[in-house]
Assembly symmetry: C2
Homo-oligomer: 243 residues x 2
């Protein structure tokens, strides 16, 4: 890597933003097409170059193609989803919607990846993890987002299945007790990327406007002086939150 | 957004990988140059378009320029770092190295951003968060990585300061108790991006080779059949882990 990496051409910059804005959590549209080995490795290498607290690189990636394993994970999903349905007993309309949503593509996707966190790697002292231990797990999430964006740039869809039992995953994949599964991802080529998130399209929730999530100087916005121009630009985006 | 978002040109794809591989955790090299409002908003909007469990978008961003606030955060850093030094009493050489490292650029960077997690937003029922509650925090981390990569593409350095007290941050920034600070970021233009992580250059830790973090079918690699070609490509990268 050389100095020319420092500045981005317009097309390169647009590539980054394109991946960010067109990335979707994919549950449908997976097609029967293998991910080439070199593309898969590119995506994994992007994940491996994420930031990590104290350069601890505490992630592992378990790559899964085995149908029996996928079926066991799917069973865990089905069980966990069943358990969650009664939590919506006070809102039967939402419960009905929830039951009908497609929430995973475990069997249809080419490759599943379980991403895990190993707190003992390079430990016990991890620089920067002494005050906030969760920063170890946070590092793994940064790696997952790198993986997701790289996959999108390669035209590969990724779906994060979070309705799973951590204990089931440990058992199915022989993961030691001190290692924590963080994400179970489904990767595969798709026949299309949706323009909006499925949960937005289905009316489950809508995208928050940007100004709702921005605060100036402190949570209560008591010092907005000096932020007028920023605020004006943010509010300009509020008219079209999908932009 | 239209259909042409689906495929990436070579330059666009390279842009994504360039951001991933040249992103650094910046503590030094900040220069005295303001981040333009529109660039700042681009970066925040990229963060806001991260994936989130159940489309819950549970993040908030507190933007900080106020010097008094920055000084209070710096004090929290200094205090927390002091507390961590004795943890290396059994390795005095490493302790000496630790004390000399520059680990934050709170005062030198143009803008600080505290990124927080609000578990109550759109709740109490969050689709996909029923089995693994941590997925809410994980969503915020995906937003942080989007922010980090967008900043890199804009030529702006980001440093994540994790040696801080969550309680101090809550008090300094008037963050309600139910909202959890996830990251404290320092953003600013820099006079250069280092080619390697500071902690790698200083010999603190080295980059793990990719093959160390990849497992086939399960943690114990008992089913490597069918993964030979992938494995060969991964091992090819091991000769130069910085690639």
């Amino acid at each position: 890597m050389t100095e020319d990496l420092d500045s981005f051409t317009l097309a390169e910059k647009e590539g980054l933003y394109k991946a960010v804005f067109s990335r979707r959590d994919v549950r449908s549209h997976f097609i029967d097409k293998r991910i080439p080995d070199d593309i898969l490795v590119n995506i994994l290498n992007a994940a491996h170059h994420a930031p990590s607290v104290g350069f601890s690189q505490p992630w592992d990636f378990i790559l899964i193609k085995n149908k029996t394993t996928k079926l066991k994970v799917k069973q865990s999903f089905t069980k966990e989803r069943e358990k969650s349905i009664p939590m919506l007993d006070n809102d039967l309309e939402k419960q009905d919607k929830y039951v009908k949503l497609k929430l995973e593509g475990i069997l249809e996707s080419d490759i599943n990846i379980c991403v895990t966190y190993n707190p003992e790697k390079f430990g016990p002292f991890i620089l920067g993890r002494t005050s906030i231990p969760e920063t170890g797990e946070y590092s793994v999430c940064c790696a997952i987002q790198n993986l997701w964006l790289a996959a999108r740039a390669e035209g590969i869809g990724v779906g994060w299945v979070s309705i799973l039992s951590i204990d089931d995953l440990r058992k199915i994949l022989n993961i030691p007790n001190h290692v924590k599964p963080i994400a179970y991802l489904c990767l595969g080529y798709v026949n299309k990327f949706e323009v909006r998130p499925d949960l937005e399209t289905s009316g489950w929730l809508k995208r928050a406007i940007l100004s709702e999530v921005i605060h100036f100087e402190n949570w209560n916005n008591t010092e907005v002086n000096g932020w007028d121009d920023t605020n004006t630009i943010i509010q300009g985006l509020d008219d079209d939150p999908d932009k």
